[in-house]
């Protein structure tokens, strides 16, 4: 089961300069665990030490914020698209 994970530009350097990762995982917690294993510097930027996404990072599953689904327990399905969106402030 493969999901596509879009990496925002400020963090791509920490994901091997990739715009998109394809990960095999069953839920958001598993997805974040895979990122921690494969891209620890990326994980350090998007997750708190306890593994939860930081307060300025939103994770969207097919355009829905996972905070308002089942959080890190949100199930993922083959072909899902996950968007990692940080707060940016430039103007």
């Amino acid at each position: 089961m493969s999901v596509r994970v879009k990496i925002p530009a400020p963090f791509r350097w920490f994901a091997g300069d990739q715009q998109e990762l394809r990960l095999d995982t069953e839920d958001v917690a598993g997805l974040l665990a895979r990122i921690r294993a494969d891209y620890p510097e990326l994980a350090a930027r998007i997750c708190e030490p306890d593994g939860a996404p930081k307060g300025f990072i939103n994770i969207y599953l097919n355009e829905q914020d996972i905070r308002f689904l089942s959080g890190c327990d949100t199930r993922l399905a083959d072909g899902d698209e996950v968007l990692i969106v940080p707060a940016i402030a430039g103007g």
């Binding site: 925002p8 530009a9 400020p10 715009q19 930027r45 930081k54 307060g55 300025f56 939103n58 969207y60 355009e63 829905q64 914020d65 905070r67 308002f68 968007l83 969106v85 940080p86 707060a87 940016i88 402030a89 430039g90 103007g91």
Partner: protein, 262 residues
């Protein structure tokens, strides 16, 4: 007061839209919009709102024009380098449309002055360049019930949403906490392509006009996420946070602790 012949000619292309018409143009003329930040976002937003005939435009910015601003802050010209940004912006807007009343505030909006300034306007455009100012402006607009057209950019990416206090999520609902120092680079450090704030600022101006006119579907409860490199524009759903200290049911009229310095 009815539109003059000059106004009818100047705004004829938008008056021709059934959603605008003469009555809509009169609404725009009566409207008061505050633009906070005369930079990459505020420049296109101010130009489009002035061109469209928004009657009163307030501009707040404490800075002077720098040469390095000119790559994206298109309201300023080379001759204005060294001048206060609000004076430069007022001069450009006056040349574009002398029918618009421009009110300049050469100040940084903070907790001490935001409420007094925002209260004078119907709607606010967030063109600020730091997290602290964004939270101050959000909390102030929520407290006063003023619609806030949010926009932000970095590199090749941009975001926008329209906050309608009491009817949609606010900035704190979407981003409960600001990043720590250095967690997200600034445009000064990471750069920004000048046309990206141009696009997002135009989205903010469009949203402002829609809200004033009461037409279409506002970008509220939704966050536009733009990636210029991929040339993808996504709209994701955002939700009101029942625990939001600014707009949630437990908030005290939007009075929240100051955002931690970032």
């Amino acid at each position: 007061m009815e539109l003059t012949k000059d106004e009818i000619v100047r705004y004829s292309r938008q008056i021709a839209l059934p959603e605008v018409g003469g009555a809509g143009q009169e609404k725009l003329r009566a409207a008061r919009v505050l633009i906070v930040g005369a930079g990459g976002l505020g420049s296109p937003a101010a130009l489009y709102l002035a061109a469209a005939g928004v009657g009163t435009i307030g501009i707040a910015d404490p800075d002077t024009v720098q040469l390095s601003d000119l790559g994206r802050q298109i309201i300023h010209t080379t001759a204005a380098v060294g001048s206060p940004k609000v004076e430069s912006a007022a001069s450009t807007l006056g040349a574009l449309n002398p029918l618009v009343n421009v009110e300049a505030y050469a100040v940084n909006l903070d907790d001490s002055n935001a409420e007094a300034i925002v209260a004078r306007y119907d709607l606010v455009i967030d063109g600020t360049d730091n997290y602290e100012a964004r939270y101050v402006l959000n909390d102030c607009c929520v407290r006063l019930g003023k619609p806030l057209c949010h926009g932000a950019v970095l590199g090749f990416e941009g975001q926008a949403t329209t906050i309608l206090p009491g009817r949609s999520p606010c900035y704190r609902c979407i981003y409960p906490r600001p990043p720590g120092q250095g967690a997200i680079p600034s445009c000064r450090d990471a750069g920004v392509l000048g046309s990206v704030p141009g696009l997002i600022g135009a989205v903010q101006a469009t949203e402002a006009m829609k809200v004033i006119l009461g037409i279409g579907e506002p970008l509220s409860g939704r966050l536009l996420v733009f990636d210029a490199l991929a040339m993808e524009m996504r709209v994701v759903q955002v939700h009101s946070d029942p625990g939001c200290p600014a707009c949630g049911p437990l908030s005290r009229d939007g009075k929240v602790e100051a955002c931690p310095s970032v």
